[in-house]
Symmetry: C2
Subunit: 373 residues, 2 copies
C-alpha cells in the first residue's frame, strides 16, 4: 500500500487521460502533453531541492552515504553514479507551492531546507517500510535491504531521519522550530500508520473495515502530505487557521493520492509502477479498492473473500482483479478520490482565496489524480 510510482524517467509531463478512456489507462505514458503546470513545478522542485539533498547525503559517513545515495537513485550498488531519478518530489513540491501561495517567492526560497527535510523523512520511512514489509522492489530497483542487508537499511533510515531534523535545526528561519515540531509529530503518525498497515495485513479480510483502512491511509500517506503543506505555510508566516487549512488540504489530497495509487497498483502499467502487475493482490494486500470490494455485499465480495483466504495460485491475479472490479472496488476508489479532491479544493480556497496564488497547489493536487482519471 505504500506509494509505488516512480517519476517518468524523462521528467516529461503526462497527458491527461479521460476517465472514460480505459484503453489508454494501462498503456505507456503519453509523451506529447506540454505545459502541464504540475510537471513543471515538480521539475523546478527537483532542480532546487536536489542540491540540498545531495549536500545533506554527502555529509554522511561513507557506510551510510552509499545506501542513501543508492536509495535516492544517484548511485548504483557498487557506488558508481546512476542516472536514475529520486522520485516524483511531490512532497517537497507541496512545501514550496504552499509557501509560494501564502508568501510569494521569498517564502518559497526560505522553505527550501524544509522541503528537503520532508523528502528525507519520506525516504527514511520508505527504507524502513521496505525492511518491515520485505518489499524487494522500489522505483524499479532492488530495495536497500536486499542490497545492503537489514542492519544497514535500518541504520540508513535512522540517519535520514536525523538528517531531516538537522536541516531544520540548522535553519535560522523563525519558522524552523515550529516546522521541526510538526515534522516530528508527523513521523510519529507515519509510524502509527505503518503499524496499522502491518497489523491489518495479519488479520482476516472480513475483520478489516473500510473506515479503519481509510484512517490507516490518512496516517500513512495523508499525514506527510498535510505536513508538507503546513510547513510551507509556516515558512510563509501564515496564521494558525491557514496552517490548519493547508494541513487539511494536504491530507485530503494525500488520501486521493493513495486511492489512485492503489488503483494503479492493481490496474496500472508495471512499466510505470515499477512493480509486477497485481503484486498487491498476489500478496493479499488489503488495499483500499480490495477492502471496498470486500465490504460491498455483492456476490463477488464473497468470492473475493474466499479467494483471498486461499493460498496463492499461478494465474489467479487476473481473476482477483476482475472480482475487485466487479464488486465495485475500482469505481469506489475513483469516486472516493474525486470526493477527497473536492474537499481538498475547498480547503485550499479557504486558505488561499486568490486562485492565481493557489495555482501551484491546485496543479499538484490535480496531478495526483489525473494519473488515471
Amino acid at each position: 500500500m505504500t506509494e509505488s510510482m516512480a517519476r517518468p524517467a524523462t521528467g516529461r509531463p503526462e497527458q491527461r487521460t479521460a476517465r472514460t478512456a480505459p484503453d489508454t489507462r494501462n498503456g505507456p505514458e503519453p509523451r506529447g502533453g506540454e505545459g502541464h503546470e504540475a510537471a513543471a513545478l515538480l521539475e523546478r522542485t527537483r532542480a532546487a531541492v536536489d542540491p540540498v539533498l545531495r549536500t545533506a547525503l554527502g555529509s554522511l559517513p561513507a557506510p551510510m552515504r552509499r545506501p542513501a545515495l543508492y536509495h535516492f537513485g544517484w548511485q548504483n550498488a557498487d557506488g558508481t553514479p546512476a542516472a536514475g531519478g529520486s522520485g516524483k518530489a511531490l512532497r517537497p513540491a507541496l512545501v514550496l507551492a504552499a509557501a509560494s501561495a501564502l508568501g510569494g517567492s521569498a517564502a518559497r526560497t526560505a522553505a527550501l531546507r524544509a522541503a528537503a527535510a520532508v523528502e528525507l523523512v519520506h525516504n527514511f520511512t520508505l527504507v524502513h517500510d521496505d525492511v518491515m514489509d520485505r518489499d524487494t522492489t522500489r522505483r524499479h530497483r532492488p530495495t536497500v535491504w536486499t542490497v545492503f542487508g537489514d542492519a544497514d537499511a535500518i541504520l540508513v533510515g535512522d540517519a535520514l531521519q536525523a538528517l531531516a531534523l538537522r536541516l531544520l535545526a540548522e535553519d535560522p528561519h523563525p519558522a524552523a522550530p515550529a516546522a521541526a515540531a510538526r515534522l516530528t509529530q508527523c513521523v510519529v503518525e507515519l509510524c502509527a500508520g505503518q503499524h496499522a498497515d502491518t497489523a491489518m495485513e495479519r488479520r482476516a479480510p472480513d475483520e478489516v473495515s473500510l473506515e479503519e483502512t481509510l484512517a490507516m491511509a490518512e496516517a500513512k500517506t495523508g499525514a506527510l502530505l498535510g505536513c508538507a503543506c503546513a510547513l510551507g505555510a509556516l515558512y510563509a508566516g501564515a496564521g494558525d487557521t491557514e496552517v490548519a487549512a493547508m494541513d487539511a488540504f494536504g491530507r485530503e489530497a494525500g488520501l486521493a493520492f493513495q486511492l489512485i495509487d492503489d488503483v494503479i497498483g492493481t490496474w496500472g502499467d508495471p512499466r510505470r509502477t515499477g512493480k509486477p502487475a497485481g503484486a498487491d493482490l498476489a500478496a493479499r494486500k488489503k488495499s483500499l479498492p480490495v477492502v471496498a470490494a470486500l465490504a460491498s455485499g455483492t456476490p463477488e465480495a464473497a468470492e473475493l473473500a474466499a479467494a483471498y483466504a486461499a493460498p496463492h495460485r499461478q494465474e489467479e491475479v487476473e481473476e482477483l482483479t476482475r472480482l475487485v472490479e466487479r464488486a465495485g472496488g475500482r469505481d469506489w476508489a475513483q469516486t472516493q478520490a474525486a470526493d477527497r479532491m473536492a474537499r481538498a479544493m475547498q480547503e485550499v480556497a479557504h486558505a488561499v482565496p486568490d486562485p492565481e496564488a493557489a495555482g501551484g497547489l491546485l496543479a499538484l493536487a490535480e496531478f495526483v489524480t489525473r494519473r488515471t482519471t
Copy 2:
C-alpha cells in the same frame, strides 16, 4: 558491545572497590556505601527527567506507547504497570551536571528537556541495535523485538527518535536549535558506530585492529556521552571552547565507560549485567579486551584466535576468559580506561576550573569506572 548494565534495583550507591581487590570484583554489589555523589545525582536525575519522559511517551499513539513503556521498564508486555527501572540515566545526568557546572541551577532546570531528549535517543538506538544484533535480553528482560516483533521494534525506535527531537523543537530556550543540530549529528555518528560494530563482527578476528575498535567504541558510546555534556554546556550559554571541552570530556569518559563495560561483560556478575557470563565470548564478539588480547603477540593470542575461529562448544567460556586475561586483554582495558579518565579530567578542568562546580561531572566520570577498578 552495547552498554549492558542496568541500574541496581534499589537505586542504592555502590561501594568503591579497590583495583587490587579482585576477590570483590565479581561478587554481589556491596550495599553499605553511603553518600556517593554520583548515585545521588543519578537518582535526582531520574526524579527530574522521568516525568518528562513519561509525558513524552504518553503522547505516543497506543501501538507505539506500549512497546516504548515496556522498553523503559514501566510496563510489562501485557500493558500492566512494572516496577522495573529504565536504566542508569547516566546520559541525562551528564546533561544536567554539565549545565549545572557551567551555569548553575538555573541552567540545570533549563536543560531538563534536553536531558530527556538525550535519553530518548539513547533508547531509540538500543531498541534498533537489539533488532540488528538479534540480542534477546536487555536490562534483565526480553528485548522489544522478541516481545513485539521486528516491525514494531523498528517503528517504536523511529518514534523515539522523533520524540527526542520534538522535545527540543518545542523548547523555547535559545540553545534548543543548536542542541538539536548537535543531537542529530550525534545520531548519525551513533549509526556509523553501530555499522562499524556489525561490519567488524563479520570479519576474521585477526583482520580487526585495536585502533578501529577504539574508533568504533568512540562513535558508538563516546559520541552520545560527549553530546550529552555539550548539550548541558549549550544550555548554560557556554562558549564554543567550553562546549568542545565538555564534548571531549564526555567522549573520553564514554570510552572509559565502554572499556569497563566490556570488562564487566566478560568478568562481571550476571546478576548485575543482566546477561549470562561470557555471552560476548560465546557470540565471538570482538570486544575491546578481546581485540587487545588478539593483538598482544602472546602465545595466548594465537590460541585465542584459533578458539575464536572454531565453532561454539559447551564449557568453552571459562577457557576463552582465561586466554583473554592471560594475553593481557583485561589489564589493557583497565589501564586504557584509567588513561581515558585522566584525559577526561583534564578536559573538565579546562572547561570548569572551579573543582566545586565540576563536582557532579567528576563524580559521574568516576562512577563509570569505579564499577570494577
